[in-house]
Amino acid sequence: MAYALVLVRSASLNLEAFALATGTHPDLVRRLVALGILDADRDAAGELWFAASQVAIMGRVQRLRAGFGLNYAAVGLVTDLLDRIAVLEAALREARRPGR
């Protein structure tokens, strides 16, 4: 018996819900998706859907912008660099651990 493959979006937010949850304007959210700073899925109707984890990412974008006066393209660069540093730091911790 064959089943259709269905994308489960139980924990997803649409654009309006996401904008509401993060206290931002939907236009800004759309812009951040276009800049590749936020990840979103697009359904057949072209509507954007956001995983719940993107709410925290939006918080970081807002804090970096508020704290340093960065433009959004720079925020994208900074978040990418911070993520890369986090991966490197984790690898460094792993390499430094005692034992063999």
Binding site: R60, G67, G69, R93, R100
Partner: protein, 323 residues
């Protein structure tokens, strides 16, 4: 803007690490450097967010020549002093009242020295952006609710704690006082693993959720156990005759003593595996415990031991260096 209790305890110049005679450029330079170091998204230390807020608050006051002048004249309580109070009269009244701290305000290095030559915005920097440093704290900035940043701290555990799991009390310094958290350590936690405390990270503003606090586990060096993932290694010292003839010895494990059978003809470096006696795995099979054989000879031989070893040396044809 709420005058935070932190601001009353610390001097804004000290917070930014600049002298009271610092120029606006020097203040801005100090602020930008410190802000980059302590921004909660750059610095995961749980104390960084409060430090960042302090720095922002200090900069907020000192970057505006008018508020800086008032701060210099009236000290940390400047927000309580009405706008039209004459600094000189204020100083005299404070001196009369014998209030402590008046000298500090007077020694502020010529409060009247500012105000001229500060009209321009140096380098075309967007002062509004810089002033937005205190998240959501400034009225009219319109940042809206911003969720708190995740924070990270190291948690050092003993091998025994990692083995058994349990609870550990961890105290964090916060501006609203010390906060003691009860951290549940899952049995079998390994080096580098992160324990998440939901909602215990940086504070969200205007009702936005707090970030999470992560404890990164580091297992402290142990006098007996070495650790690799979930596997434990322990030295097993043997006398030459035990190693040659085989024996059964007790090995200490985190669960207590275990008997290990040493087969005859065991040399240094051989690992005897005690299956699944390493660190437990919450969702899989536990690591192993390896007893590593190390042959140890007496530092001094008795006459009888010497005689027997010499006899053995004569009789034996064993050459450990034979290729």
């Amino acid at each position: 803007m709420p005058g935070g209790p932190r601001a009353d305890r610390h001097d804004f110049y000290e917070i930014l690490g600049v002298p009271r005679t610092a120029t606006q450029d020097e203040i801005q330079q100090a602020y930008r450097k410190l802000a980059r170091q302590h921004h909660p998204d750059v610095n995961k230390d749980p104390g960084a967010e409060d430090r960042f807020k302090e720095i922002s608050e200090a900069y907020d006051v000192l970057s505006d020549p008018q508020t800086r002048r008032r701060y210099d004249a009236f000290g940390p309580d400047f927000r309580q002093v009405p706008e039209d109070v004459d600094p000189e009269a204020f100083q005299r009244s404070r001196a009369r009242a014998g209030a402590a701290g008046a000298g500090q305000a007077r020694g502020a290095g010529g409060a009247g020295g500012f105000g001229t030559g500060l009209g321009g915005d140096p380098g075309g920097i967007d002062i509004e952006d810089l002033l937005g440093g205190i998240f959501g704290g400034r009225a009219g900035r319109g940042w809206g609710p911003i969720s708190g940043a995740d924070q990270e701290a190291e948690l050092e555990l003993t091998v025994e704690e990692a083995f058994q799991g349990g609870h550990r009390s961890v105290t964090l310094e916060r501006p609203d006082g010390r906060r003691t958290l009860d951290v549940r350590i899952p049995a079998g936690v390994t080096n580098g693993q992160r324990i998440r405390l939901a909602g215990q990270g940086g504070r969200g503003t205007e009702g936005a959720p707090n970030g999470d606090l992560y404890f990164v586990v580091r297992i402290a060096p142990h006098p007996r156990y070495r650790i690799d993932g979930r596997d434990l290694y322990v030295d097993l010292p043997l006398a030459p005759w035990e190693a040659a003839l085989g024996t059964s010895v007790a090995v200490e494990t985190p669960r207590g003593e275990m008997k290990v059978k040493v087969p005859p003809g065991t040399s240094t470096g051989k690992r005897l595996r005690l299956r699944h006696h390493g660190l437990p795995h919450p969702r899989g099979s536990a690591g192993h415990l390896y007893a590593e054989v190390k042959i140890v000879v007496p530092a001094k031989l008795t006459d009888e031991e010497r005689r027997l070893f010499e006899q053995l040396a004569t009789v034996s044809t064993f050459d450990p260096r034979r290729r």
